[in-house]
């Protein structure tokens, strides 16, 4: 394909068209209804058709172009011994300063091809799903224009050939995330969640920007040719320390975007947005940008092994931490949100032990089953008339069978059941952790896999099995625009793992070899075949145990809304303070409030009251007072009598003459 720039440009055009029409139409509507706002009144059919066709069409076309570009490239790369050279297309020079230029250039290599494949595929499916899910919404046009804008930013991020251009996409997806979390802008919690996401991302972006400067300082360039330089270890300046600093700064950026470490707090709150948004932005695509960044800069990270170890520990810590929170959530979307944080932790764990290919493989498979789960939860919420509390569901399996079946498939996939997609990617991560000798990390990952299986099957059981609670009896299945994407995603959740079947199971580890030209692959050690098989069986056993446990507690749960499963409730009572802490999300939000936000607020209040209001305002008010005083004096000279004025300037002229005479 000759024009890579068309791929991000199409959604951008969609954004402009949708946005313009939505703006004009809403102002015309407001005029016709004499300014009265009618929330909840759906748009006329013709306008909805337009937004749907433009929104889905632009992204669908971008997907078609993407596959037209990446399939030949990928096939060629698989057959060439060293892989094909990356395709780099310069569109124009963005900034030029002396010898150095920053170009708007797009790059297709195996890493961006992998990202491109699922971003466009999942993106298109979620656009189709949104047509059904959002049809009763008044902000239909606004929604689709934001969603298109997001696709533009995400594709720019993926295809960018330099860190500055990647940063444009990076900030673009952040902006769209903010806009779409706050989609229900008349609800306080949605607005607050949007702001929280934006501000938490700013913390990460601080590191990201400094990291980009650092890369420039180290290599003299910020386009991705620095990766080659890093591979050959061509460094400028105080290299070893500089490399560590740059790696940590870039990792800070990745933590913000991918919700790692303490910066995860924005992601669960981001569930305030519409569910397809959660699926697209906060599960499948945007949040994986951090992993993509690390994989893209992997050659640099390899030069700083201790920084990489930190990545692994933060990833593993986040994985188990978020998984424990997921155990006790009752909001269906919150469970999935914590699950996403936890799975992202896995990806960072993989990168941290040097298995960047395994991390990207998990990004790939995760995007399918997590998108399927989120869209499934959206279908459930749709069926339950906007009820998100799983305690008020139950017994939905027979009422919304298509949603149930697809979600069950995706759940088995994320739990890591053989031979679904999640099994291969998760096992590749755990295997890499073990092979690299990080046995503690391996055990954390293994335990987290058990927790994952438990909380996911708990979700499925509470939603679909047991006795119906609340209004679950009146649930109805969603339209085809919603169920068809579910089925497609469920199918991918089954087969996506096929690209990464390890050699020991008769596969070729295609994804690993595919990514080899674009990511670093430091030696991480070999494992005996028997051990490898043993570990696989172990992780499968842990996953099945988790599933079985969830089934035992929640499978036939018929308890009341307050204690759906009596066994689980009894267990919770027994755990005492620890259980309450987990149920209260480890009090992280409260801790951040006490340790970070409240001191900041106090400093802010001091600067406001003590400095701004007293000092700055004082100067301004005093000068205004002086001017007023002067004016009060001067105005007595303005008598309005022309004869006074005439006298004044006669005297003035006389004085002037006298002055000239004297000198």
């Amino acid at each position: 394909m000759k024009q890579l720039w068309l791929i991000p440009a199409l959604p951008l055009a969609g954004f402009l068209l949708n946005g313009l029409v939505a703006l004009v139409a809403s102002s015309m509507r407001a005029e016709k209804e004499s300014g009265a706002d009618h929330p909840g009144v759906p748009l006329p059919y013709a306008q909805r058709l337009f937004h749907g066709v433009v929104g889905v069409g632009s992204v669908g076309l971008a997907a078609v172009l993407s596959f037209a570009a990446l399939v030949p490239y990928a096939l060629g790369s698989m057959h060439a011994p060293e892989g094909l050279a990356p395709i780099v297309q310069k569109v124009y020079t963005w900034m030029a300063a002396g010898d150095y230029t920053v170009d708007v250039a797009f790059r297709l290599d195996t890493l961006s091809a992998l990202m491109l494949s699922f971003v466009t595929l999942v993106g298109t499916l979620i656009h189709v799903y949104s047509v059904g899910y959002m049809q009763k919404e008044e902000g239909y046009g606004r929604y689709f224009s934001y969603l298109n804008l997001f696709m533009f930013a995400m594709l720019t991020l993926v295809l960018a050939d330099s860190l500055p251009l990647l940063f444009v996409g990076w900030e673009g997806v952040g902006l769209c995330s903010y806009l779409l979390i706050g989609y229900y802008y008349d609800k306080d919690f949605a607005v607050a969640a949007g702001k929280k996401a934006f501000i938490a991302n700013r913390v990460g972006d601080f590191g990201m920007v400094l990291g980009i400067f650092g890369v420039f300082a180290l290599f003299g360039t910020a386009d991705f040719s620095f990766v080659e330089l890093a591979k050959r270890q061509v460094l400028a300046g105080n290299a070893p320390l500089g490399v560590y600093a740059v790696c940590l700064l870039l990792f800070l950026g990745a933590c913000g975007k991918s919700a790692q470490g303490p910066l995860y707090v924005w992601l669960p709150d981001a569930m305030a947005g519409p569910t397809p948004v959660s699926a697209l932005i906060h599960a499948a695509t945007m949040v994986t940008a951090g992993v993509y960044l690390i994989a893209r800069c992997s050659a640099l990270f390899v030069l700083a092994p201790d920084a990489l170890t930190l990545v692994a520990w933060i990833g593993a810590g986040t994985a188990i931490f978020a998984a424990t929170i997921g155990l006790a959530q009752n909001d269906i979307k919150k469970v999935l949100a914590y699950s996403t944080v936890s799975q992202l932790g896995y990806m960072f764990l993989a990168c941290g032990v040097g298995a960047f290919g395994a991390g990207m493989f998990h990004v790939f498979t995760h995007s399918f089953f997590k998108a399927c789960l989120f869209l499934g939860s959206g279908s459930v919420i749709h069926a339950m008339h906007h009820e998100q509390d799983m305690r008020k569901m139950g017994g939905l399996a027979g009422r919304i069978p298509q949603t149930f079946r697809t979600m069950l498939v995706a759940t088995l996939a994320i739990a890591g059941i053989f031979p679904l997609a999640g099994f291969f990617s998760k096992d590749m991560i755990l295997g890499s952790a073990a092979a690299s000798g990080h046995w503690v990390l391996y055990l954390v990952g293994l335990f987290t896999a058990g927790l994952t299986a438990f909380y996911m099957f708990r979700l499925v059981s509470m939603t679909f099995f047991g006795a119906p609670r609340g209004h679950a009896e009146h649930a109805h299945e969603s339209p085809a625009t919603m169920t068809v994407p579910l089925w497609i995603l469920a199918a991918f959740s089954v087969v996506a793992g096929a690209v990464g079947i390890p050699a020991i199971l008769g596969g070729t580890d295609a994804v690993g070899r595919f990514l080899e030209p674009s990511v670093a692959h430091p030696p991480i050690g070999e494992m005996a075949h028997g051990l490898e098989i043993g570990l696989m069986l172990l992780s499968l056993g842990v996953a099945v145990t988790g599933l079985a446990w969830a089934w035992r507690w929640y499978g036939r749960a018929a308890g009341p809304v307050e204690a759906v499963s009596p066994q689980a409730h009894a267990f919770y009572e027994k755990t005492g303070a620890l259980g309450r802490l987990v149920a209260n999300r480890w009090n992280v939000d409260e801790g951040i409030e006490a340790l970070v936000l409240s001191p900041f607020r106090k400093i802010g209040t001091f600067l406001w009251r003590g400095f701004d209001a007293l000092f700055i305002d004082g100067i301004a008010n005093a000068s205004a007072f002086l001017v007023e005083l002067l004016g009060d004096l001067l105005r007595f000279f303005t008598t309005g009598h022309v004869r006074n004025y005439a006298l004044a300037f006669t005297l003035g002229f006389a004085a002037l003459v006298a002055y000239v005479w004297m000198s």
């Binding site: 309005g640 004869r643 005439a646």
Partner: protein, 111 residues
Amino acid sequence: MTGALPGVAPMAVPPGAFLVVATLLFAIGLAGALLKRNALSIFLSIELMLNAVNLLFLTYARMRGDLAGQMIVFFVIAVAAAEAAVGLAIFVALFRTHRTVDVDKIALLKW
């Protein structure tokens, strides 16, 4: 360059007399402009001052044998004519709205 213009008879009245008359005319005009309350009187006083200056110009032009002074007088007359038209129009408008042309009674533009 002092001296008579070619073909012009020397002045019968000494130039100092013209200067005294011009100064007196100017002083009378200034006093009138500052002391009178009727706008028309003020206006006439200003005309008087203008013509005092004209006389001064002419006298010096004659004394110095320089035509530039006479040129300026023509300009002053032209401008004064325009000013008369505008000024009188203002007084007509003033009279229509306020029924007076007493400048002390139309002191409106003040604090």
